[in-house]
């Protein structure tokens, strides 16, 4: 079913590159049919779909590539239908294909290290001085979102949504609802929304026992279960205000609460010798297997964030700026600044430079390595530690440039962005560790093409 829909979309997108404006209605119709087919697949009759010609569709394609690590291709198709006065249905389908290598959390070393693959079958060897990456990282994710927006009373709009996301080892189902109330003659909008999602994972090889040591390949991998669930509740309260004829701002407060299995089942932590600083090798069956322990995080996390956005038209150009502060009970605080400046040309095209600055502090339990006996005993679910660099202290910078053309509500754009993440090296490096880079820079390049039909 999904393949059929994607084929319809692919045909439509391919057609569009060879055609002129006069054929756009047929493309929209094709996309509308694809969308209708999607609805029908969910057990909903497509009979009520009024006029398939009226779908406003947009398609996007992103290519993302990290130096020496993950690369991803992500096509998106979105269709919006005006059902009635101020009543809209929006459907979106996203496919995300990832391949490449992902950091495991283990330290680099002057000695070669051999690790067992997550399945327990097979192994991979990391050369001296190289960051341990699991090069079998591969996943395909399919996400479907539906959103229905309609006025329910004077100046009051209801928004209902649902989301389904499926990966090879992960399933997420979500629902959301929100209300927006216009006051002050439409100059102020107050909004509130709630989102619930239930996620279930089935990690390759099963759910590791916290702090259990990695076992040699083709050996019982010491797992405690095959599945892992988590629930996420999000609430967002916002205020949008028109300032004057050319500027407006928004302020949002968000609360997010996650409960359940929040570990990354593929991440582990090296145990290093307290004297030499080299990884400990103590496995008699496989002497080149370093002692690494699977991570363990708390089973709940509460995040608070404040988000402010300000947008102003300066002649035909537009400045879009935003700031987000986030704090959580894992000890992470982050600041995000984002600026986009849209420079309009006379012929309807525009250039848009973009800069994003991000900084986060480390989680309280971020542990880049264990020194000797610091490692908690296997199965100690009350101790927390993770060497996942994404929970460490780092800054990140994005620089991008977009070019696009727009005519009314239709147009296209292409953007290229460069992302650089620079982490803070651990303070307590000693012995052989002092010669290793434990938090190497991660940089990525991505391009994005979007077209409205």
């Amino acid at each position: 079913m999904v393949v059929a829909v994607l084929e319809a979309v692919a045909v439509a997108v391919t057609d569009s590159s060879q055609t002129n404006k006069s054929r756009h209605p047929s493309i929209r119709a094709t996309l509308g049919i694809a969308t209708g087919a999607l609805l029908a697949s969910g057990g909903v009759s497509a009979d009520w779909l009024p006029d398939l010609q009226d779908w406003e569709t947009s398609a996007g394609l992103m290519y993302y590539s990290e130096s020496g690590r993950v690369s991803a291709i992500e096509p998106v198709i979105s269709a919006k239908k005006n059902l009635d006065t101020d009543e809209y249905l929006t459907l979106k389908l996203t496919l995300d294909t990832l391949t490449g290598a992902s950091a495991t959390g283990a330290v680099s070393s002057e000695l070669p290290q051999t690790f067992t693959r997550p399945s327990g079958n097979g192994s991979y060897t990391i050369a001296s001085g190289q960051t341990p990456l699991d090069d079998t990282f591969k996943d395909t994710r399919l996400t479907f979102n539906a959103n229905w927006e309609r006025p329910v009373a004077e100046e009051l709009t209801l928004n209902l949504g649902t989301a389904l996301s499926k990966e090879y080892d992960y399933l997420s189902l979500g629902i959301s609802g929100g209300l927006a109330k216009d006051i002050n003659a439409g100059n102020t909008t107050l909004s509130g929304g709630l989102s619930l999602s239930a996620d279930s994972g089935s990690p390759v090889g099963g759910e590791p026992i916290p702090f259990a040591a990695m076992q040699p390949e083709d050996t019982d991998p010491l797992r405690q279960g095959s599945g892992s669930d988590k629930q996420v509740i999000d609430a967002v309260f916002g205020l949008t205000q028109i300032i004057n004829k050319r500027s407006l701002f928004q302020i949002n407060y968000s609360l997010s609460s996650s409960d359940g299995y929040l570990n990354d089942p593929y991440k582990f932590i090296s145990v290093v010798d307290p004297i030499t600083g080299n990884p400990v090798f103590e496995n008699s069956v496989q002497p080149d297997l370093p002692t690494v322990a699977y991570e363990n995080r708390p089973d709940s996390r509460t995040k608070h964030s404040l988000y402010a956005q300000y947008k102003i038209a300066l002649g035909d150009n537009i400045l879009d700026s935003s700031y987000r502060f986030l704090t959580d009970d894992w000890g992470i605080n982050s600041h995000t600044l984002d600026f986009r400046y849209r420079i309009a040309s006379n012929n309807g095209s525009y250039w848009q430079p973009h800069i994003r600055l991000y900084q986060q502090s480390a989680a309280d339990f971020y542990t880049p390595f264990f020194v000797g006996s610091e490692r908690p005993v296997s199965g100690d679910s009350h101790s927390f530690a993770s060497a996942d660099y994404r929970l460490g202290e780092f800054t990140a910078t994005t620089l991008g440039l977009e070019y696009g053309r727009r005519s009314g509500t239709r147009g296209w754009s292409v953007a290229a962005e460069y992302y650089l993440q620079s982490g803070k090296e651990p303070d307590k490096k000693f012995g052989a560790l002092a010669d290793q880079t434990l938090f190497p820079d991660v940089d990525a390049f991505f391009v994005r093409f979007i077209r409205d039909f």
Binding site: G174, I183, I233, D234, L248, S305, L326
Partner: protein, 80 residues
């Protein structure tokens, strides 16, 4: 026993007071409906490129410990 209603009253003042003041401040801002030509431009919408925003958010969600803010930041991905 008497403190609970008082505390509730106090908390209401503490929460609603600043909100009402903020809204009062907002009421002096704004424009008439016929003055919204510039604000009605599609590119002046707060999220004027929803597909681009969703693609970017997914990257940052999988590379950083923060998510959400502009809208819901919830689950939906095993990447973090």
């Amino acid at each position: 026993m008497k403190t609970t209603p008082r505390l509730q009253h106090l908390s209401r003042i503490l929460v609603l007071g600043p909100l009402l003041i903020a809204l009062g401040g907002c009421s002096s801002l704004g424009v008439q409906p016929w003055e919204r030509g510039t604000l009605a431009r599609p590119e002046m919408a707060l999220t004027s490129q929803p597909i681009a925003a969703a693609l970017d958010d997914h990257i940052y969600f999988s590379k950083e410990a923060s998510s959400g803010g502009r809208s819901f930041g919830g689950g939906g991905c095993g990447c973090n």
